[in-house]
Amino acid sequence: MSDFTTLQTALSGLLAHRRAMEVIGHNIANANTDGFTRRTLSLKPVGSTGAPAVFARSNSVGEGVDVVGVTRLREEFLDIKMRIALGAGGSAGQVASVMNQIEGTVPEPSDTGIAQQLSEFSGAWDDAAANPGDVPIRTALLEQGATLASTINRTAAGLTDIRTQLVSQLSTDVDQLNADARSVAGLNTAIIAATASGSDASDLQDQRDLIIDRMGRTAGVTTRQQGDGSVDVFLGGSTLVRGGNADGLKVVIGGTLDPPYAGMPLQKVDVRWISDGYPVNQLSGEVAGKLVGIDTLVPQYLNDLDGVASRLVSTVNALHATGHGLAPADVNLNFFDPAGTTAATISVSTDVAGQPSRIALAGATGGALDGSLGHAIGGLVDSPTGAGAAYRSFIGRLGVDTQTAVRRSDIQTRITTQVDSDRKSATGVSLDEEMTSLVATQRAFEASSRVLTAVDQLLDQLINRTGMVGR
């Protein structure tokens, strides 16, 4: 062991702690960077020799410190948990948002909603039946019927609009997911190259994790870390990204909806793989939430509203056809157009539109000014089998479903927040901790330079003052 070895030891300490300070500085600088993973410097002592030979003796104590590399303190387990939570949360949040939008199209209880208009419609029949000869009151009844029909039409159009918007948002989501998949593939390539050349790929990895999180929120992906530093991304068991290659998804519109909504005039929307055209299994995330909204929720409530409309048309027409208008010859007429039995198509029939005197208020055997049939129709809406009851049960179901969806989304948000906080506590930068490390590193640097000074003084003693006896 030479005297100069200790100088080298002290130098290695100085260099290592300079490097440690760089890492701490990088951590502190990125304390608020989204997706940043804190790093530490891995150090290892440098021994004098490797494995000593048999019977060989060495009195060496080591030759300082060596920098092994920069370690990224990532918890893969928490990443997996987070992506599951993000997928479930994205899906639940999307469903809740769709339900809120659907509920927004039927604002109840209110003084302006369909429930109110149904009651006003029923009242208009009674008013007209009390004065069957009064044509202006009949006109008011006709207008009330037209207003009710157009309100139901407008609500149906509102539901269809929600669906159209969801489809266009779904396309945007799928495009974003495809772009993200390509980014991950590109980053994989870069990370494989960086890892092979031994350079630090931490920042690239942070960027990749951030993108994969976003993909998790969009479609609920799972990942597998590979030995070469790349990450494979899976969607429902199939590969979306493998190494530097990325597949993609596409939105397919066409075909009938699944039962029980197969008969509705809406096209099924599906998400399929670009490569082989098969549907994607086990989707979650916002894409899944939007698909549920498009293929199940909106059709379901539109179907319920169709039920209200067809109930209204069939009950009113059935009674209306039995009576006659002001002229006894006006028999077998429809009040609502019998062809329009859905919420989108309900309308006042051409039998009576613009001809209020043809509205049947009189029963078959009644005189011209008989109002018995009008009163009977007025009582229809509120009867247990009438349109009012159908509408109330529609609102009840919608309310319960919305409440459930919002609660589920709230719970998922809490879980996501908790997992996110756990992950940030594992990977995030704690300024207190960095300050402590900074103090320790600074002290170690000072101490190393003190060692250097001590050795220098030792050598000075040896070189300049030794062997000067008697001088």
Binding site: E103, E108, G367, H375, D382, D422, G428, V429, E433
Partner: protein
């Protein structure tokens, strides 16, 4: 590892908690501002359906009350005109009694006969009374009067009925034949009241004593018939009054239930608002304190 607290992990949790507190505050603020406990059906689905149900019943009850208004008009008009008809028949009766006394010469008999014919005319006018533009005694006819000038019935046998309460429909008038009797072409004396008065006038003119005394019984019969109708419709009017006052109580109850379901208890809401405001402020202050703390304040 989880015990490690970093500035980003604590800010995530703090933000989530602050968000919850703020949402609770906004929620109660909206309730206080709008005065409604329920903004949408999903706030409380069961109560929303109940309140929709109550609102439907309330509006139906209001409609039935409007129907009762019409029914009252019809019944009162019927009552009034029936009384007039009874008065006119009584006048006719005293004229016939006067004619019966025998102390009348030809000119006074002519006068009595003319008075009877005039009474018939005014009774025809009464029979053509209208209510809300419709002939009161015309049934469900579209004709403008119940009887023509000659006394022939123009109406039909239809009953005017109005639903005045849940499951209760009232017939609010009677047709001409039910009040005045049926036209009889062969024997006018057993025909309707108008035929009776004309034939009595003729009998008085001719001093047909037996026909005059028989006419007296027939007038009594006609009066009894009208009185029967009047009593029937009068009792219906009092039944309607009872139904209406019961209906008013029912509407008040429904309004109270709706208010109970939908409206905010202002005192309770105001206290909740204050409590949530205080807890939100406390949360903000605590968060501000904790975020300021750092090791750097203590390192030299």
């Amino acid at each position: 590892m989880i015990n490690r607290v970093t500035s980003s992990s604590s800010s995530t949790l703090m933000l989530a908690d602050l968000g919850d507190a703020q949402r609770a505050l906004t929620d109660i603020q909206r309730q206080v501002a709008s005065g409604k406990r329920m903004q949408r059906a999903s706030d409380s689905p069961a109560e929303a359906v109940a309140t929709l149900d109550h609102r439907g019943h309330l509006r139906r009850a209001e409609q039935l009350d409007r129907n009762s208004d019409s029914a009252t008009q019809w019944l009162e008009a019927s009552d009034r005109t029936n009384q007039t008809v009874i008065d006119q028949l009584n006048q006719a009766r005293s004229l016939v009694v006067q004619a019966q006394s025998g102390a009348n010469d030809a000119s006074s008999r002519t006068a009595i006969a003319n008075q009877l014919l005039a009474l018939r005319q005014s009774m025809l006018g009464t029979a053509n009374s209208t209510v809300m533009g419709r002939p009161l005694y015309g049934g469900t006819t579209a004709a403008t009067t119940a009887y023509d000038a000659a006394g022939a019935y123009l109406g039909d046998g239809g009953a005017v009925t109005l639903p005045v309460n849940e499951g209760v429909s009232l017939q609010v008038t009677r047709t001409g034949p039910e009040v005045f009797g049926t036209y009889n072409a062969t024997t006018p004396t057993s025909g309707d009241a108008f035929q009776l008065l004309s034939s009595l006038a003729a009998s008085v003119q001719a001093n047909d004593v037996s026909a005059i005394s028989a006419g007296l019984t027939q007038i009594d019969g006609a009066t009894t018939r009208v009185q029967g109708v009047q009593v029937e419709l009068g009792s219906r009017l009092s039944q309607l009054e009872q139904l209406r006052s019961a209906g008013a109580v029912h509407r008040d109850e429904l309004s109270a239930s709706i208010s109970q379901l939908e409206d905010v208890d202002v005192a309770e809401a105001a206290i909740t608002l204050k409590t949530r405001e205080a807890s939100y402020q406390a949360a903000l202050q605590v968060t501000a304190r904790i975020i300021q703390q750092s090791l750097m304040d203590f390192l030299r």
